[in-house]
Symmetry: C2
Subunit: 176 residues, 2 copies
């Protein structure tokens, strides 16, 4: 299954770290790309550095036009899931979503244009309380892949050996 | 089961929004309190405003000393789970963690003191790739409560009616 994440409404000053976390979660939880409706050189640097050190082929495409991207995605047979606290219950839709080959997951910042609700095949809530697009994306992908996403191998220069206590990192000469 | 979240290493300028998201996730995913090792008036305002509008009795205790809090928690029979990318696999420990009545979930920022790894009963990784403490907390609580946390009723002034499209909010006169 091919997953891309579309991040809407990024405001460079305010959202720098949240959008970076959205990108890191996208990569770590099995997406292959993040499309960013906006430009932010710092986020590109951070995400590229993580890929260089930790592996995988996740990439960021910045400066996209969300309308063009969603149109193109649908024309290519992809489906769109918009994560929003106003949406339907996740588990009601999950069996249908799991049948798709290509899913674009849209996560917004505070204000999302009304057209996004219409272009989405599913508007899905990870609970109907205010929380975080970072959390919503992680829980959505975790439920979608049923935990298997956390077992992926990224083949990076750095690799952690899971430890009961302390830190063990392969490929890293110094202590972190 | 009683859950509190301890947020370490908060730097007001840099972490303001990430720590707010940690607090919102803590509340929405079933914790009753966030302890903040640091002070940040803006975060207190944001979280209190969410509780006032959306309900529940979640609260923030800022300016705590993490050593005192973890000692006190353990003295009261509580267990400590530290979420870290260096830790053991979540599912290996989950059956034991589920037997606890009181769990403190510790989430750090970039640097976490080595003593935290020792004071924790479990150092747990939500995958061993770099991502986000917001995501780690959400997935941990989602797995712990097996999705039931998202069905909680908060009894707030505002309540969302889950919708296939658009936004429906009870108790709110204006359109959001």
């Amino acid at each position: 299954m091919q997953i891309v994440v579309l991040r809407l409404g990024h405001r460079p000053e305010r959202d720098k770290r949240i959008t970076t976390h959205v990108g890191l979660v996208a990569r770590a939880f099995g997406a292959e790309e993040m499309l960013l409706a906006g430009n932010d050189h710092n986020i590109e640097l951070s995400l590229n550095e993580v890929v260089r050190r930790w592996g995988g082929d996740f990439h960021l495409k910045a400066g996209v036009n969300w309308k063009d991207e969603t149109k193109l995605w649908k024309a290519g047979g992809g489906k769109i899931v918009h994560l929003t606290m106003y949406g339907s219950n996740l588990m009601d839709a999950m069996e249908h979503i799991r049948l798709c080959n290509k899913i674009m997951v849209v996560v917004g910042a505070e204000k999302v244009p009304a057209e996004v609700y219409n272009v989405a095949d599913w508007n899905i809530a990870i609970g109907n309380q205010p929380h975080s697009e970072v959390a919503a994306l992680a829980v959505f992908l975790d439920r979608l892949f049923q935990g298997k996403e956390l077992m992926q191998e990224f083949g990076g220069n750095l690799k952690i050996v899971p430890s009961f206590k302390g830190k063990q990192v392969l490929g890293y000469a110094d202590k972190i």
